[in-house]
């Protein structure tokens, strides 16, 4: 037993060192944070800077005669810029103070707002031919000329209701390939113009109406035992997905390396040399443990980076440390299950190409939690979410999303998830070990699922 554990340890150590002392690993490890950092740093620059302002004409058919004027005002560059600024400020409302301060500096805001479009409003008569106006949208424009960007047709009862509280609206026609942002801005401007026209038509005081309608949204405060803290909506919303993502990422990185290395050992015929020194089960156990250490290292680095980020934004208090413990426990369970499958597939095939067909269902299972992530995140205690928490292999991922939510599940459900997950992992490992044992020395035709089942029976 002692010798056996020693051999498992030696195999695990070699697996770990072979993976970690590899340039590819270091590059892979740094790649994701580097990409995220790059996106954070570069995206605002490339998305806002030097974007040429949209220039063009917007035709308005206004039978009420009360909207077009307001629309002309609402679509001036100044009005659009003001709306963009308000929108950016609203989006930053729930971000940490450090981020908010940085993002609302005059330079940052100017970069976010960008260059406002220069729109020319063309008022058409109420009796204008709609078909002809639509054709105007598709007419070619001479080089340097103004593009025909939109046709707005205000309905006759859009300002004065035809029946009590039955207001009409408007129609918006646009050519192909119009920017989403411009379209949104047209909607906002039309809405603002219609509301303004209606207020005027009813002789209401706009300021009073707006004051009546305005309710400041308070930032909620999370009350915990012995402490209160500002609730961070964005943080709470993101947290479950970050944890589930780490779980999937950790399992995938370890499993994939395990698969690749086992296939490589088999194809370069080192397997039989190893089998003269260790049993197949010792070999499999060593490989799984070695790669588990690799995944744990990756997770530790990413969690560490996350904690440092939270600390630097003075948000560390928002994170429940127990979540990290749960992440590690669920990672171990999920990893054991998937790693056993990855190693069995690696032992069964002769080259990576052959592994693809066997890996497709495994990868689908691994990705399945993402399909349900939004549903679980929105209603973490619905019957569906609870049921998923008990069905392996997605149970650990589902539970991780639930645990990260604002309304975490009761502890008994967490324990059931652990027990069910562990039982499934043991069963899968038992099956995988049999396939691993037989598959290692099999060469030739790539096996299918039926072959793997037969091997498991024969082993």
């Amino acid at each position: 037993m002692k010798q056996s554990l020693r051999r498992i340890g030696l195999v695990a150590r070699r697996e770990f060192m072979a993976a970690v002392m590899n340039k590819g690993f270091v590059i892979g490890l740094l790649l994701m944070p580097a990409i995220i950092g790059l996106l954070i740093a570069v995206f605002p620059l490339v998305s806002s800077r030097n974007v040429p302002a949209v220039r063009g004409e917007v035709a308005v058919v206004d039978p009420t005669g009360q909207v077009a004027g307001a629309l002309r005002t609402a679509l001036t560059a100044e009005a659009i810029t003001a709306r963009r600024r308000d929108s950016a400020m609203r989006a930053l409302q729930n971000t940490p103070a450090v981020v908010r301060d940085a993002a609302t500096s005059p330079t940052a805001i100017a970069r976010t707002v960008g260059a406002a479009p220069a729109l020319t409003i063309l008022e058409r008569t109420a009796s204008a031919d709609l078909q002809r106006e639509k054709q105007w949208l598709t007419e070619p424009v001479a080089a340097g000329g103004l593009r025909h960007l939109a046709l707005i047709v205000v309905q006759p009862n859009a300002v004065i209701a035809s029946a009590p509280a039955e207001y009409g609206s408007y129609e918006l026609f646009i050519p192909e390939n119009i920017d989403d942002r411009l379209e949104t801005e047209l909607y906002d401007a039309i809405r603002e113009s219609l509301v303004a026209a209606r207020i005027r038509a009813h002789n209401l005081n706009r300021n009073e109406v707006e004051a009546v309608m305005r309710v400041r949204r308070a930032a909620s405060v999370t009350v915990a035992a012995g402490a209160e803290r500002q609730t961070n909506v964005a943080f709470n919303r993101m947290l479950p997905f970050v944890f589930a993502g780490l779980l999937v990422f950790g399992v995938t990185i370890g499993g994939q390396t395990l698969l690749t290395q086992t296939v490589e050992e088999k194809s370069n015929r080192v397997i039989e040399v190893l089998l003269s020194a260790v049993s197949p089960i010792e070999l499999m156990a060593g490989k799984i443990l070695g790669q588990m250490a690799v995944s744990m290292l990756v997770l530790a680095i990413y969690i560490g980076l996350g904690l440092v980020t939270l600390m630097s934004f003075a948000m560390l208090g928002l994170l429940d440390p127990l979540l990290i413990v749960y992440l590690i426990v669920f990672f171990l369970i999920s990893y054991l299950l998937f790693a056993a499958v990855f190693s069995a597939v690696g032992a069964a095939v002769n080259e990576m190409r052959e592994a693809q067909s066997l890996m497709t269902p495994v990868m689908l299972l691994l990705m399945a939690p993402w399909m349900f992530a939004t549903v679980i995140g929105r209603e973490p205690n619905s019957a569906f979410s609870v049921a998923l928490s008990f069905i392996p292999p997605v149970n650990t991922f589902a539970m991780m999303i639930r645990l990260g939510s604002a309304t975490p599940p009761p502890i008994w459900q967490v324990l059931v998830t652990m027990v069910v997950g562990l039982a499934a992992a043991c069963a899968v490992t038992w099956f995988a070990a049999k396939v691993f044992k037989v598959g290692l020395l099999m060469h030739g035709k790539a096996p299918d699922m039926a072959t793997l089942m037969r091997w498991a029976r024969e082993a």
């Binding site: 050992e265 397997i271 003269s276 260790v278």
Partner: protein, 352 residues
Amino acid sequence: MQPALELRNLRKTFGATVAVEGMDLVVPRGALYGVIGPNGAGKTTCIRMIMSILFPDSGELSVLGRRSALEAKDRIGYLPEERGVYRKMKVGAFLIYMAELKGLAAEDAAARVPRLLQEIGLPGIEGKRCEDLSKGMLQRVQFLAAVIHQPDLLILDEPFSGQDPVSVRVLREHILGEHRRGATVLLSTHVMAHAEEMCQHVVMIHQGRKVLDEAMAGLRRQFDPRIIYFEPLDENATASSLDETATASSLDAHATASGLAANATASSLSAVIGVERVESLDGSYRITLIPGTDPAGMMPRLAAAVAPARIELARLRLEDVFVRIVTEGSRSQVASEALRASVTAGAEGVLA
């Protein structure tokens, strides 16, 4: 003392194919055994069962007194037929890793590696990656991985396959060195000449069954080839194939002065009592004796008949023994030649 290896009635099938059937074998401690047979005979399957890499369908085995090689892995050195290395690993690290898996402390292994590499003719390559070595060098490294922990039992499956003559010679010396150290050696090869040169005892396997289990000394007695190679002192003596019945026609066909001399030599040799047939072999003669004739007694008589430059009793060839055993009962020349071809296939070019 218990034998190093004992197999009792082992059987192994793969689907409908019977790979090994009724295999009994006892290898005493300290012996050097050769397991021979053509490709696909069942040698590797047998060895894999001994190593507990495969498990028999039925039968029993003991390895170094244990019921399974799994219980004695640290005392066994194994060089499989399908052998590889971690290509990116350095030679020293690979050897230390294998030694550690075999129970050696890392420090002891690290101390042994440079000495062993030196002894096998690869000094100073510890720091090289395995992928940077030539095939011959790599095979020597693989051999070291099998013996670095000084095993009690060394099992070598086709150790010379794909090796150049220099590597074969180096490896052969080291295998014999391991044997002299006291290790029991079980050597599998389809190149029977290797077994002839090295082994004390050979086991022949054909179609999954053992067809011979005999000491080389006994084999030499039992399968006496009755062939003597004779080179006359007179260099002009040459002749085509002759035998006692064909002598007259052959003499007519080669009526030259040297031909006459050669025929005279062949006739003289054929005339010696106990000679069954004389064949010419480009300047020398191959003399087949009548069954039951004592070759040692014949040699002075042949030398008396024709003055020899060289006279030599043919060595036993396992290939001949194998063919004779397997084709015994069926006198089909075609079957015999086909079998000989299968035995020698792949052997050419690897003989040192």
